[in-house]
Structures are given as C-alpha cells and as structure tokens.
C-alpha cells in the first residue's frame, strides 16, 4: 500500500465524498488542468453548504465533458455541444435544482455556441464552468475556435490562421450576468469565483484557462503540463473589471484574468419555471 492509498483508506481524501471513486483512476493526462478545476469545483461545493441531492451536473463531450462521469451527483453526460439546452430543460422543469454545466471550449462555444448565446440571453440560472485548453484534446489536438493565432495544432501544422473567440466578451455581449476567468493554477481565486457564480442568480460563466499537457504543450513546445500551468499562471495578470473587449488571448502572451462582469439583468420569468419566479416584467 503506497502513501496515497493508505491516506485514502484511513482518512479518506477530503474530496472523495463528491467523487465516484469506483471510476478512479480518471482518463485525464498528467499535468492536465481539468483535475484541478474539478478540485476547485468540489471545494466550492463544500463551501457552499448546498443540498447535494438538489445539485446536478451536465457535461457535453470532450475531455472536460468527462467531469459528469466522475462527480458523485446526479450527472448527465450528453451530446457534443448540447449540455446547455439539456440543462435548460432540467432547470425550467425543476427550478429548485441547482444546475451546473461543466464542459470545454469546443463543446460550449463552437458546436454549442448558439445554445451558449441563447442561454445567456434568457439569463437562465445556470452555472457554467468552461475549461478552455485552446484545442480539441479528446480527439487528438485539432484546431479550436479558441486556438490563439499562430499556435500549432494537428490540423494547423503551419500555425492557426483564424482569430479565436474571446469567451468573456461573447458571454457578456450575449447577456451573462457573471463572467470571470482564471487559470487552472489560481485554485483559491477560481474556487471563490465558482462560489460567486453559483450564488449569482442568472447565467454565470467561469472560464478556466487550462493546460493541455498532451497536445497543445507538445505541439507548441511548452514543456510538461506543470510547466505550462506555471507559464499561464506567471503570465497572467489580475485585472478585475477589465472591459471584456480587451480579453483576447494571444499566443504565449499575457492572459488577463479576474472577474469582469457582475451585474443584474432581467431573467427568464417565473411563468416558464425560470429562476425569477416572483419577478414581474
């Protein structure tokens, strides 16, 4: 029995109650940031003192999509890009539930982009944790709508030539009431943001810049996962309230993190089972 095992056996790992231990080990690569993001989410749930029976997670497809399969809550692993509309159905039908959408950049802003826009417009009470690793990792490292210009992927062997999405700007423009961005190494700040996003009534988005230690790092010579995680952390600058138009991410340049949007907006009304049951137009 190794140290980790003995620790787990005797005391139990603190996040164990919220994980499906019968599915561990997980599929994520060493140095991947999804594990730390999941850890931050679990820490946030522990802080939130929320009824776990009334908390559910919906994920789409991709590396981050696998979160639903490891979290010990009612959890749905649905189609690529469709986590948000599936979650919308749950939330509208059963407004007392807390519904968290946990998925990746390709899932939520590429194939699921339209759903992202309209959920933000409706301002439906969902918490979205969006792990952005700049690449389609599950499928082997293809270019994504978040890949910075000139970055290499398996399908941009001469460097990406398309301008990427600025996710916070997209979320704000579409109507999200809470938008933050952290890197996967900003554990405490990220945890705090997830707590805030969760408590915020309405559509809340937390973007997590996360290393893809397998494809993005290798193709762009960024070292091991941990090197990449440190690189993002070191090259990030906290600017709360920064106008979201300034939040483009350029290849190997500074990444602005922080909380950018925290506002009130009318939400979908109670007649449709929305979060704002008492509100009148």
């Amino acid at each position: 029995m190794n140290t980790l095992e003995s620790m787990t056996k005797q005391d139990g790992h603190p996040i164990e109650p919220l994980l499906r231990m019968d599915r561990i080990p997980h599929i994520w690569c060493p140095g991947c940031g999804i594990g730390t993001t999941l850890n931050a989410f679990v820490a946030a749930v522990n802080k939130l003192d929320v009824d776990r029976d009334k908390l559910c997670v919906v994920s789409g497809i991709g590396c981050t999509g696998r979160v639903a399969g490891y979290i010990k809550l009612d959890s749905f692993h649905v189609l690529h890009g469709r986590a948000i509309p599936f979650a919308t159905g749950i939330k509208l039908s059963h407004p007392e539930l807390n519904v968290v959408v946990f998925s990746g950049d390709g899932d939520l802003v590429s194939i699921g982009g339209n759903h992202f826009l309209h959920a933000a417009r409706r301002n439906i009470n969902l918490t979205v944790i969006l792990v952005n690793n700049f690449i389609y990792a599950m499928t082997g490292g293809q270019v994504a709508p978040t890949t910075p210009v000139t970055a290499y992927t398996t399908t941009s062997p001469f460097g990406n030539f398309e301008p990427p999405s600025n996710i916070p700007q997209l979320a704000e423009a579409a109507g999200a009431v809470y938008v933050a961005r952290w890197t996967a190494l900003h554990i405490r700040r990220l945890t705090k943001s997830i707590v805030e996003a969760f408590r915020k009534p309405g559509f809340a988005v937390v973007e997590v810049v996360s290393p893809c230690s397998m494809y993005y790092s290798r193709l762009n010579r960024m070292g091991e996962g941990i090197d990449m995680m440190k690189f993002y952390h070191k090259n990030s600058v906290i600017k709360h309230g920064e106008p979201t138009e300034n939040l483009d991410i350029k290849f190997q340049k500074q990444i602005i993190v922080g909380k950018f949007v925290d506002r009130e907006r009318p939400a979908i009304l109670g007649s449709s089972g929305g979060p704002d049951a008492e509100a009148e137009p």
């Binding site: 009612d74 692993h77 599936f86 919308t88 939330k91 509208l92 059963h94 007392e96 759903h115 449709s272």
Partner: protein
Amino acid sequence: MSGSEACAEGALSAGCGFLAAYPLVPALEILKRFAARFHDFGAVYIQMEDEIAALAAVLGAAWTGRKAMTVTSGPGFSLMMEHVGLGVMLETPCVIVDVQRWGPSEGIPNKPGQGDMMQARWGSHGDYEIIALAPNSPQEMFDLTVKAFNLSEEYRTPVMIMTDESVAHMKEKMTIPPTADIKLKRRKYYQGPKNKYLPFNWGKDFVPEMVDVGQGYKFHVTGLTHNQKGYPVINAETQELNVHSILNKIRLHSDRIAEFDEKDTQDADVVVVSYGITSRDAAKAVEKAKAQGKRVGTFRLITVWPFPEKRIAELAKTAKAFVVPEMNYGQIFYEIERCARGKADTHFVFHERSRDNGVARILEAIDRAFKESRAS
C-alpha cells in the same frame, strides 16, 4: 377542433408538463394551442433557439419526472435526429410530433407529405428501435397523443407521432373523453435503497426502472455505451448488452405495441395498406372497387413502427396483392414488399392528394393489381 389543437389537448390530457419547440410550418398551431393553455396545467412551455435545443431540453425535462414533448416538421425533424439517438440511449420517455410536409430540404412547407417515415425509423445513427404512430383524424390526433405518452412512459423511449399537414390542419368534430376515462401510464419508478440504484438495470422486459433528478440517487447517465450502472464501458460485451437491451425492449413487445385497423381482409384478393391522411382516400377507393364487385380489403397502420411484420406476412398468404399508396415515392411500400416475401404482389401508388386525384389513382392501382397480378 383541428388536428393540431387536438394534439395539444391530447398532450395536456396525458399530463404533458413540458413542451419545448422551435416554430416551423406546418406545426405551429400545436404550439399556439399549447402556449395558450399550459399555465392552466402547471406545465412549462419554452421556445428554444433551434430544434436541436428543443429536443435536448425535452430530454432534460423528462429526467425531472415531467412528461415532455416537442413538435416540428421535416427540417426540424432532421435537426432532432442526434437527440433521438440520445433519447434512445438514455432510455428517456418523450414524445416527438412530426407534422410532415413536402421535402426534401425546405420543400413545400404547407403541403402534406409522408416522406419522413423512414427517417423516423432510421434517422439517428446506430442500431435502435423506435415507436411511431400515424393518426388520420383530429380525434386520433388526440387519442394517439395520449397513447404516445403512455407508450413512452411504459417503454422508457422516445415515441413519434408521424402526422402531416392535412391531418394537422383539418377540422372535424371530435370528443374529448372525461378525464376519468383517459387511462394514463407512468414510468416504472425505482423503490429500493438509494445507493443500489442502477439506471439501466435491464430486467426480463428490458425496461429499466427510472428515478428523477434531484431525489438523491446521485446517478450517472451517458450517451456512450454503458453498463447497468450508467457508466461508460468501452468493449464489445457492453456494446452488445446495451444495444440488445434497447432493441429487445421494443422487439419483444412489438405485438403489444403494434396497432392496426383491418377491414374485409379475410377473403380479399387485394389489400390496400395505408396510414395517416392517405388512409381516408384509400377507404374511398376501396369502396368504389367493391362496388365494382372486387374483393378488396383495407389495412390501416396506426402504429407504423414497430412494423406489424407478422400480420402482413400472414395476409401475404391469403391475399394476392398489396396496393400501397403513400405521399412519398415509396417508403412503407418497401416494408410491405419485405414482409410479403414474394408471396403476394406489391403495387406502389403515389398518393397525389394536392391535385385532388388521390382516390382515382388508388382506384387505378387497385385495377392494375387485379389485372397484372395473380389476382386476375
């Protein structure tokens, strides 16, 4: 009441608590009726950003314990196909109404069609079975909508109502039965200890017990090939277990599910097989043929999928030919041909309703069947 209104009323009578849709001709009247009425029933109505999202929301809603439905026509039906697969894979009860119009693609939005019948059966990728019903009157739009919800709950599967523009827009007298007379079915709920729940505990009848999200079971479901626990498992054994269960739960019960309406088929030389609005012109054509002294029977499919293979095979032994009118260029016709196994001739006829010669063409086909086939 119009067929569309009857469909919305049928849904509400069946206890439908959630409708998500995207507006599409000629399915709009169902939405209008539901949108005007859902408050009175404590239901939820939401117009989603597209049909993909509509069926996604329906599946999510179904897992909260609500009976849920969506309504669309051809182009939207195409968009829904990926979620038909997810609905099948997550074994989620829901109802999908397809008010068929002319296709392919945008086609002619306000003309009735039956071109989506095979898409209903095979539209989503992979192997699965589906249940689809074909109403031919406003009364049946009501009755079969109730039945569709019952079947979806009983077999934990998406059920399709394959209607068309004619039936949806037609107005007829109809009866809404007293609430007490409407028999409603509910999904089997799991009652055991919370930590023992298996979302896909395929038993003898292959219909697993369900729970609702938010009840504390902490279950997991995935569109990936999964075991009884709902966990993804990537191997051939699990694939076989998973897919066989999905297929068998419909196949084993297909005799119970299949509903059809037969008239004078016992001693018929020719049997006219039809469904939906076409069955009305078929009935008229058969009456005319009978007046000419021909022995003709009618067979109307009420359940289209699963297909009543056994009964068609039996009829192929006694009848000499089948005539199959459809508002497409041959879809269910090939099912008849398959089930006839060469024992009876099969004649396809395009049911051209829009130029008012529907009955005449079916009658011609009956004549042809008598002349050309072994019936002569």
